[in-house]
């Protein structure tokens, strides 16, 4: 059984240091698409964390019974079944948000984060640590989603969770909403700058240059 500090480390490591979105490049698609408002971002984050944790638990429980050659199909079917359950729950109780999320809930199935964690961790570990690892990764993903979603909603609409924070110019305030923040490009910029900020803070994450141009290689020698 894992000791106290280990549990804490497994849970907190993926928050920033091993963040699934900014370092491992997993699950970016949905991270950007659903972040126009905090409410959709939160729904997506909770759905993904639930699916990820349950999938890790189930796969890790039956890990000795899955033949290696068909493990991907087994994992995908388990994840897809969980996603269908989540999708039906959202449609039943949060119909409006479910419409706003459109196909992106279904796309949790092919979110590389889910398969990445089950493949890399849950397949080799006992159920409890696997679920903790999955939960930690879900939290790291949620953190990025909330930051991006919060920035976009705050500057795009002057609201947070639908409540006015910055008084709009139309309604007698001073803030003119930046409609660019609601469009696709701003999400890329915010995430790019977020990656830059994290990597300046933790320089060991910086990547080596992709290729060296011929002129500079000679200069280096």
């Amino acid at each position: 059984m894992a000791k106290g500090p280990d549990v804490w480390r497994v849970l907190t490591e993926p928050l920033i240091r091993q963040n699934p979105v900014t370092l491992q490049i997993l699950g970016i698609c949905s991270a950007l698409a659903v972040t126009t408002t905090m409410a959709t971002a939160l729904t997506m984050a909770v759905s993904l964390t639930v699916v990820l944790t349950l999938a890790a638990g189930i796969i890790s429980t039956i890990r000795r019974h899955i033949p290696d050659s068909i493990r991907l199909i087994v994992q995908i079917v388990i994840v897809a079944s969980l996603v269908i359950v989540i999708d039906q729950v959202l449609q039943a109780y949060f119909a409006e948000i479910s419409r706003a999320l459109s196909v992106y809930v279904g796309l949790i199935t092919t979110n590389c984060l889910v398969l990445g964690r089950t493949e890399a961790y849950a397949r080799h570990h006992r159920p409890l640590p696997s679920m903790l690892d999955a939960f930690g990764n879900g939290l790291g993903y949620s953190l990025v989603l909330m930051i991006v979603g919060g920035l976009r909603e705050l500057f795009g609409k002057g609201e947070l969770f639908g409540f006015a924070v910055l008084p709009l110019a139309d309604a007698g305030g001073w803030f003119t909403p930046l409609s660019l923040m609601l469009l696709a490009p701003s999400a890329f910029f915010i995430l790019g700058l977020l990656v830059w900020a994290i990597r300046s803070w933790l320089p060991e994450q910086a990547e080596a240059p992709e290729h060296v141009p011929p002129g500079r290689m000679e200069a280096a020698e």
């Binding site: 698609c29 991907l72 279904g106 979110n111 999400a187 790019g192 700058l193 994290i198 910086a206 990547e207």
Partner: protein, 204 residues
């Protein structure tokens, strides 16, 4: 005919998968470091989307849609909640078959696709193509055109990003921005450019 052409252009440029709808970004960013690898990915995407979207359309229309079993005396049967599992299965099988056929009859093309083909099974853009087909209720012809258009749009975007990133070797970037960071910023700039297409579509 013109309607299909419009659908093709809309799928390729106005609703560009990686740049406007944020689909398939993981592979989009991971495999765009060089233009030649990017081209292989783009061609594979087009082929797989062009095959799986019409295939899933047939399955949805004749097996899963509400009322599809009325000929068998079960008009109330609605299996559409099984769409997700069915689509994933079809995509996995189609990719496998496509790979075997190419390997057997067109080894040159198969070698060019390389490792990308099996990877595409778990690519969100591929699954999203089929899910959009259901949401917008395309016919068989429309879904073929939509699949090919989306694939071409993805290919154009990924090759462009690959070309830009290979030029980055001459830029002196801050260490933290290298790789993923600048990849996102470049994608954002390209996305700004592609946003102009949606303005053109709205104006026409």
């Amino acid at each position: 005919m013109t309607e299909l052409w419009t659908l093709f252009l809309t799928a390729a440029f106005v609703d560009n998968m990686p740049l406007i709808l944020f689909l398939g970004l993981c592979t989009f960013l991971a495999l765009s470091k060089r233009p030649d690898a990017a081209l292989g990915l783009g061609v594979a995407m087009t082929a797989v989307l062009g095959v799986t979207v019409p295939l899933n359309q047939l399955i949805y229309a004749y097996v899963l849609a509400p009322g599809a079993w009325s000929w068998a005396g079960m008009p109330e049967l609605d299996l559409s909640y099984l769409a997700l599992i069915a689509f994933i299965g079809v995509i996995a099988a189609a990719v496998q078959v496509l790979e075997m056929v190419l390997d057997r009859f067109f080894p040159a093309i198969h070698a060019a696709f390389g490792v990308f083909l099996p990877l595409l099974t778990v690519q969100c853009a591929i699954l999203a193509g089929s899910l959009f087909m259901v949401e917008r209720s395309y016919s068989l012809v429309e879904s073929t055109v939509f699949g090919l258009g989306s694939g071409v749009g993805f290919a154009v975007a990924v090759v462009m990003l690959g070309a830009i990133r290979s030029r980055l070797a001459y830029a002196n970037l801050p260490a933290g921005l290298r790789g993923l960071g600048i990849g996102f910023v470049l994608t954002g700039l390209m996305s700004l450019g592609f946003a102009a297409f949606s303005q053109m579509a709205a104006a026409s």
